[in-house]
């Protein structure tokens, strides 16, 4: 299977969506901030989420409104089966590559 071409940011955000429950714009941005240590703007997150949805890696549905949002609904994102397939394919590919680095193998194994 030829994995979907994913950019670095796309891959990271896809992973975050998989980790978080009920991932939506702000929560993804916060998680990104917390786990990667860099801040990201809300529009950037929206763009990536939309793109991933277009590629079929995510699906979305409108979630409930909360008070912080002034009663506005949020769009909740969830990874699709295809999304999981792609991300594990990428992982396998990376591992194959990692195993081919002699120095790393010497040190660790």
């Amino acid at each position: 299977m030829v994995p979907e071409r994913l950019g670095n940011l796309e891959e990271t955000i896809l992973l975050i969506v998989m980790i978080e429950d009920d991932a939506y714009g702000v929560s993804v941005a916060k998680a990104y901030d917390a786990r990667i240590g860099k801040s990201i703007s809300i529009p950037a997150v929206h763009t990536v989420l939309k793109r991933l949805e277009k590629k079929g890696l995510l699906t979305s549905s409108m979630g409930e409104a909360t008070a912080e949002r002034g009663g506005r609904g949020k769009r909740i994102f969830e990874a699709t089966r295809y999304g999981y397939n792609v991300i594990s394919e990428i992982r396998k590919q990376r591992i194959r590559l990692w195993e081919m680095i002699p120095q790393l193998n010497l040190k660790n194994g």
């Binding site: 702000v26 809300i42 529009p43 763009t47 939309k50 949002r69 506005r72």
Partner: protein, 876 residues
């Protein structure tokens, strides 16, 4: 937006940014985007403080401002709102273009043709008008002319040659800030191994002060004290000295005509193409003045051009009035009659013909003719455009009605039509500009002018833009406003629209368009006629098989050597010297005296110096007396004149009478014979009085008559003999016939261009006609079908379709005839010998116009007439 859980003192994101977001963001995207932004705002408020949170909020609102946020889902899309409208306009435009691609192609093609031609012409006109206007204070520079004035006070001729003495006088004249004396010269320039024949000038060094010819190296002031100097152009310096010209030029000594050695005092920049004065070198004329003081002081030796820069506050007329008495006193010969006249230099390039001392014509006539042609072409193309657009728009009445019913307002509809027209106009403009750019070198080639594409001129682009907008408004206005006015209820019932929107207007436009075309056709035929007359007119002078060589100084000194050598060749039958080519005698003399001359009579004569063979070489016929004979040495004190000269003098029994030459020496000549008139000037002029003298040593041209049919051999022999005697001298020869034709170069170019333009004009008009007739045929599809069912013949249907158009075109030709007669009669006035405007030209032009129109019409109407009525009646 009341939020119950937040009190009013709780910080909020900036309201305007929030509103902005609400304005641009699509409704169904708003909750997620706005919600996320507000949530993030609150988070940041805690972490980073109010200011940062607000700034980030604004930043992100702005970042969200992009098409993806404007998008609506499919079911929500509607026609209202700005975006929906312009999208719709674009879509309708494209659909309309593809549906009526033929109309639009014809329309666009005609417009491109017309625009390209007009642009080219206007660029040329602009160039012509810019000639000599680049000098600083050019309005203060005047050129001196001399008017020959008869006793009755009438100006009989105007000539531009002035004596050096006038320059000396003007130089220190009150009110004149500077003066220039200038004379074109062709010289051999030699440095080391290389010799070039160059076009240059003898001039005062003030040439570089009055005119804007910048000096690259060297200084004019330093050169004035030393007269043995020469200025050369950059090109000439490069040719002579190679790449190191910049370092070496100043101070280098070069040799002129194997005689004088002159030191280069400066190198001047290339003379721009829009200067009427063109030269590659300048010799300081003061040198000649020093060597020949008698020449410099004598008012009779008119061989140069004098320019004066007159102070702005001074009327040139007042200077004329002051100079004329001085001139008359100094001239030395009792016959006055010559008066100085100052003519603005900047106008001089376009105005070179004078009638009774007033500028009457010159290149300006061609500039005007072509400006007119450009206007005609653009008008014809625009009319086409308007006609086709209006005709076509009637078909869209239903579309307009339905849109109106659906709620479109007038502004929207007008915008739609203007947009469509504008798109077509500007596309055509862009293509025309491209074509103009590509064709400009070709035009330069044809006219001999270096015209640059004014890509950096903002005025040019503004003019183009203005043209585009005007055209759009004029062509799009009518359909836009008329169609937008229709009442949909009537249109949809099918009662409001007659067969055309406004037949009268369209008919008038067709007539106008074809009138212009017919004028162009008539003019073209007339111009061609006149050109034929010039080319094949018998001048009374056999100018065939004659080669013309400009005589350089070394040859002048030992001419017999060259002549004897050349005559040994079988292909060369005669060699003789002349002061001017006999097709263009340029030297005028005034003030001859003779026995029995009435006191108050003063005549001018064109003068030609030549040798005895002249008569045989050119086949001159004598009416009385004889031509010169080289065996009679006293013939050098004789003269021969033409019939016109004799008639103007009013002399009886002229043979043997004596004439006294003007000037201090008072030399006397005996009249030997009278020649039949022949034309020694261009046919623009009447035959003028001419005196021929036998003075072989005061000549400047060599004429070589070749044996019939042996011209090529003769040229080879000439080249070979020349090389043997003058290995270093370049040989430049031309055919007398060609030099004669050069007198009419402008007319030839005009003829060629007029021909092209007439063809294009008629082509555009026919394109328009083609578009119109196919439109009419389309409209009458049903009518034709019903007529055919009822038994109408193909011929009667073609007649039905074309009758109206043929009527219109006949009217056009009838209108064009008198108009073009007036125009052409005026142009032909420039020629003393004119072919006239013949009646058959009108008939021919009419027949051409009607035939072309008929052919155009018949293609479409035949198609319509042949169509099966089953199909045409079946259409709905």
């Amino acid at each position: 937006m009341a939020k119950p859980s937040r009190s009013h003192d709780n910080p909020q994101p900036p309201q305007w940014a929030d509103r902005f977001l609400e304005w641009y963001c699509a409704d169904e995207l708003l909750p997620e985007i706005q919600g996320d932004l507000h949530e993030a705002f609150l988070d940041r408020l805690e972490d980073q403080g109010l200011l940062m949170a607000r700034l980030l909020f604004i930043k992100e609102v702005l970042l969200f401002f992009r098409p993806s946020s404007f998008e609506r889902s499919r079911q929500n899309k509607n026609m209202s709102g700005m975006m929906g409208l312009s999208k719709n306009v674009l879509k309708v435009t494209l659909r309309n273009f593809t549906r009526n691609s033929r109309f639009n192609l014809i329309n666009g093609f005609g417009l491109i043709l017309g625009l390209t031609c007009s642009l080219l012409i206007l660029l040329w006109v602009h160039f012509e008008r810019s000639v000599d206007n680049f000098h600083p204070e050019s309005e203060q520079i005047y050129r001196a002319y001399f008017n020959g004035v008869s006793e009755a006070g009438e100006v009989t001729f105007t000539q531009g040659a002035s004596p050096f003495a006038l320059y000396t006088l003007l130089h220190d004249f009150d009110g004149v800030s500077n003066a220039v004396v200038y004379a074109s010269e062709e010289r051999l320039i030699n440095y080391g191994e290389v010799t070039y024949r160059s076009e240059g000038a003898m001039a005062s060094s003030s040439l570089f002060e009055v005119f804007d010819f910048p000096m690259l190296i060297g200084n004019v002031d330093n050169a004035i004290s030393n007269h043995q100097t020469i200025f050369v152009s950059q090109t000439l310096a490069q040719k002579l000295l190679g790449d190191k010209w910049a370092d070496q030029a100043v101070g280098t000594t070069i040799r002129i005509d194997d005689g004088d050695d002159l030191t280069i005092a400066g190198v001047f920049a290339e003379i721009p193409g829009n200067s009427s004065l063109q030269f590659d070198f300048v010799i300081n004329i003061e040198m000649i003045a020093e060597q020949r003081p008698e020449w410099a002081q004598h008012w009779g030796y008119k061989g140069s051009t004098v320019f004066a820069k007159i102070n702005q506050s001074v009327d040139p007329k007042s200077i004329e009035d002051l100079i004329n008495p001085i001139y008359e006193k100094s001239a030395g010969y009792g016959v006055g009659g010559d008066e100085v006249m100052f003519f603005p230099f900047a106008k001089n390039y376009l105005w070179t013909q004078f009638e009774q001392g007033v500028a009457s014509g010159g290149r300006i006539q061609y500039v005007r003719i072509f400006s007119g042609a450009a206007l005609f072409l653009i008008l014809i193309a625009c009319i086409n455009f308007i006609n086709l657009s209006t005709a076509q728009s009637a078909r869209r009445a239903k579309e307009v009605a339905i849109r109106k019913t659906a709620g479109a307002d007038r502004i929207t509809l007008i915008f739609q039509f203007l947009f469509e027209t504008g798109l077509l106009v500007f596309a055509a403009l862009v293509i025309s500009l491209l074509l103009t750019f590509l064709l400009l070198p070709e035009l330069g080639h044809l006219t001999g002018a270096e015209i640059a594409f004014p890509a950096t001129d903002p005025i040019f682009w503004l003019a183009i833009l203005a043209l585009g907008i005007t055209l759009t408004c004029v062509a799009g206005f009518y359909p836009a406003f008329v169609l937008a006015k229709y009442l949909p209820s009537k249109v949809l019932k099918g009662t409001a629209i007659s067969s055309s929107t406004n037949p009268l207007l369209r008919k008038a436009l067709v007539v106008f368009q074809f009138t212009l075309s017919a004028i162009l056709i008539i003019s073209t035929i007339t111009v061609q006629n006149q050109l034929n007359l010039i080319q094949f007119e018998n001048l009374g002078l056999d100018r065939s098989n004659v080669l013309l060589i400009d005589m350089p100084e070394p040859v002048r000194q030992q001419f017999p050597v060259l002549r004897d050598k050349l005559l040994q060749n079988s292909g060369i039958s005669a060699v003789l010297r002349c002061s001017d080519p006999p097709t263009n005698v340029d030297w005028i003399n005034v003030g001859y005296d003779w026995e029995g001359r009435p006191e108050d009579q003063s005549n001018y004569f064109y003068m030609l110096n030549t040798e005895a063979q002249f008569k045989d070489v050119f086949g001159i016929k004598m009416t009385e007396g004889r031509f010169f004979d080289d065996r009679i040495p006293t013939d050098t004190a004789g003269l021969v004149m033409n019939e016109t000269a004799l008639a103007q003098m009013g002399l009886e029994n002229p043979i043997g009478k004596l004439m006294t030459e003007p000037g201090k020496e008072k030399r006397v000549f005996r009249i030997l014979g009278i020649m039949e008139d022949f034309n020694f000037k261009s046919l623009h002029q009447d035959i003028e009085p001419l005196i021929i003298k036998y003075v072989p040593h005061r000549t400047s041209d060599i004429l070589i008559k070749t044996a019939p049919g042996e011209t090529l051999a003769a040229i080879a022999q000439l080249t070979k003999s020349w090389r043997e005697i003058y290995p270093d001298l370049p040989l430049d020869y031309e055919f007398l016939d060609d030099s004669y034709k050069a007198l009419y170069e402008r007319e030839m170019i005009v003829g060629k261009l007029a021909y092209i333009f007439a063809c294009i004009a008629i082509l555009i008009s026919c394109l328009g006609l083609f578009g119109l007739i196919s439109f009419v045929a389309l409209q009458k599809t049903k009518e034709i079908g019903i007529r055919k069912v009822l038994g109408a013949s193909v011929r009667s249907i073609i007649g039905l379709l074309s009758r109206d158009f043929i009527k219109l075109i006949t009217i056009s030709v009838l209108i064009a005839a008198p108009l073009s007669y007036i125009l052409m009669a005026q142009w032909l006035r420039n020629f003393a010998f004119s072919a006239g405007v013949q009646w058959w030209v009108y008939v021919l032009a009419g027949v051409i116009a009607i035939c072309l129109a008929l052919v155009t019409i018949s293609v479409e109407s035949l198609k319509a007439a042949m169509a099966s009525p089953v199909d045409s009646l079946n259409s709905d």
